[in-house]
């Protein structure tokens, strides 16, 4: 405020600048604006980040499943990160059927052998790849059909009928021992 003007001023930008160093002023204005924007971005970051999963949510990121509880030929559903996971103890027949599908599942081709770690254990997300409903056992392909829009999945969780376009996802999991897997 040291250069307080004493005369009335034109307020439009085209007014003559007098003895003002226009280049210096532009540099100062631009530098101030740039620092201001950078500061605003830094302030915005924590606010945006606060809406991401908190540490308490991340702490629930893994789930151990005891495979002894699942009889041969049956599937059970588990809740992992708020979403269902299907663990299917497949019988010899079911594995054979699934392997046959390697050639006929053309919508999203995948080999059954690549979708399992051990052939008798199929672990897939119970989330329809169309719009997120939970598929139920049944349908014409031995696996699941989705009650919402009629998508069908086979005994390897591969999509066989739309509107879903991709196979049921496989969550990250590993065998802790022969009778336990850890999902997540």
């Amino acid at each position: 405020m040291s250069t307080k003007p004493t005369a009335p001023h034109a307020t439009d930008d085209d007014a003559p600048l007098g003895d003002v160093d226009a280049e210096r002023r532009a540099l100062l204005v631009n530098a101030t604006a740039a620092f201001g924007l950078a500061g605003a971005a830094c302030v915005a970051l924590p606010f945006v980040s606060s809406m991401n999963p908190s540490r308490s949510v991340k702490a629930l990121a893994t789930l151990d499943v005891n495979l002894n509880d699942i009889p041969l030929g049956e599937a059970k559903t588990f809740l992992w990160q708020g979403k269902p996971v299907f663990v299917w103890h497949r019988s010899e027949d079911q594995i054979t059927e699934a392997r046959k599908g390697d050639t006929t599942a053309t919508m999203d081709p995948a080999n059954d052998a690549d979708r399992v770690q051990k052939a008798e254990w199929l672990v897939v997300m119970g989330v329809c790849t169309h719009l997120g409903c939970v598929p139920m056992r049944g349908g014409e392909y031995g696996g699941w059909r989705c009650p919402c829009h009629g998508s069908q999945f086979d005994d390897s969780g591969r999509v066989r009928q739309g509107p879903a376009g991709t196979n049921l996802e496989i969550p990250p999991y590993r065998f802790l021992d022969d009778a336990t897997i850890r999902i997540g």
Partner: protein, 402 residues
């Protein structure tokens, strides 16, 4: 503004400014409000920074508050733990909560300085009585919001503060006790109370925003007062708000943020009370219960008077009296600079106000009560003297121009 039939309307959207201007003149509205078309006195000191700082403080409280509300749970069984969840689990939750806590205190600091500025330079006098009154309304809403917010962490101070303050209303004749029960939604501060306090704490800031808009509207009727307190007549006494005062306000903001961020990062709990880190317990009152620091002067007035009803009246009266200040002080000179009696009296009032705050912090016993009683007398004595000063105080010569 009025649309006349002959007024040509820009229909070419490539002339964007005029096109929008003819449909929603929001840019010129902003320009008239806080831009180069708003003329401000050219002699405003840094004391005039605190209005915009208060506005920024309010925005920061709302912003941080919205993000805290996404993680907070207004339930007596979960509230305290959800605060711990925010502090420990939520990404940057500690930062957002510290900003909100320290922000509340700094909001009050800024507003107290803003009010003290108005009191010194006679900014409440004609023709700015409504502007001042709206400011007092904002102050009352802030106090309500601050109180409600302090209850939410559901610590010992939250609980007992809520109990004590809501019980103030029990002094209302006949219906007081019923009103308190209605306010609680039960027979003590409890779950219904916490839930509604959360809702009100969320809503009131938006009411404050509405009153701030009125406050600024009233400001623009006659423009800012100035350190000389005189009504400006010449065009040369004014400079455009933008860029002169926008840049000054931004600089002031930078200075303000230094102590503010220091407190946020290094002493976030300094202005709070450690007892609020103990979960609320309806069976045990803390040995020494105090409100947040910004309520202390008024709390001291409440405790200074040993009769319950009178104490409550005096406490509310000490704030409500600000509404009639423009009619108590009718001295024609605004600025204390030119009032040889008002100026020292004002200084005494400020010092006394701080003394009251100190009394509010001390236990309500012995000498502290005596001091608080004297300070309360001085507080109201100041207002009682103003009509006398209006009549007899001889002002120094007042300049005719800045």
């Amino acid at each position: 503004m009025a649309h006349t039939p002959n007024h040509p309307v820009e229909n070419d959207i490539r002339n964007t400014y005029q096109w929008l201007e003819d449909r929603l003149p929001i840019i010129s509205f902003l320009n008239n409000s806080v831009g180069s078309n708003f003329m401000a006195p050219r002699n405003l000191s840094y004391m005039w920074n605190f209005g915009s700082l208060a506005g920024i403080a309010l925005v920061l409280q709302i912003l941080t508050g919205i993000f805290l509300a996404m993680h907070y749970k207004p339930d007596v069984h979960m509230a305290f733990d959800s605060i711990q969840h925010i502090m420990r689990d939520v990404n940057w939750g500690w930062l957002i909560r510290n900003l909100h806590m320290v922000g509340a205190s700094f909001f009050f600091i800024v507003v107290y300085i803003h009010m003290a500025r108005g009191l010194y330079y006679g900014s409440y006098k004609s023709p700015r009585e409504v502007l001042w009154g709206l400011g007092v309304v904002i102050f009352l809403l802030m106090m309500a919001t601050g109180f409600l917010g302090y209850v939410l962490p559901w610590g010992q101070m939250s609980y007992w503060g809520a109990t004590v303050i809501t019980n103030l209303l029990s002094v209302i004749p006949f219906v007081g006790p019923d009103i308190v029960v209605w306010l609680w939604g039960g027979y003590a501060v409890g779950d219904p109370t916490l839930n509604r306090f959360f809702v009100l704490h969320f809503v009131l800031p938006f009411v404050i925003i509405a009153v701030v808009v009125l406050h600024i509207w009233a400001l623009h009727m006659h423009g800012s007062n100035n350190p000389k307190g005189i009504s400006l007549t010449k065009q040369t006494d004014y400079i455009p708000f933008h860029p002169y005062y926008t840049i000054k306000d931004i600089f002031g903001l930078g200075v303000y943020l230094i102590p503010f961020t220091f407190m946020v990062f290094y002493a976030p709990e300094y202005l709070g009370h450690t007892d609020n880190n103990i979960p609320a317990n309806p069976l045990v009152t803390p040995a020494h219960i105090v409100p947040e620091w910004y309520f202390l002067p008024f709390y001291a007035i409440l405790r200074a008077i040993p009769i319950k009803e009178l104490g409550v009246l005096a406490m509310f009266g000490s704030i409500l009296i600000l509404f009639v200040l423009p009619w108590l002080d009718k001295h024609p000179v605004r600025s204390a600079r030119f009032r040889p009696l008002y100026r020292p009296l004002y200084m005494l009032f400020l010092a006394n106000f701080i003394l009251l705050g100190w009394c509010g912090m001390m236990p309500a016993e012995g000498i502290y009560v005596r001091i608080a009683q004297a300070a309360t007398a001085i507080y109201f004595g100041f207002f009682a003297l103003l009509p006398v000063l209006s009549k007899y105080e001889k002002a120094k010569p007042v300049p005719t121009s800045i």
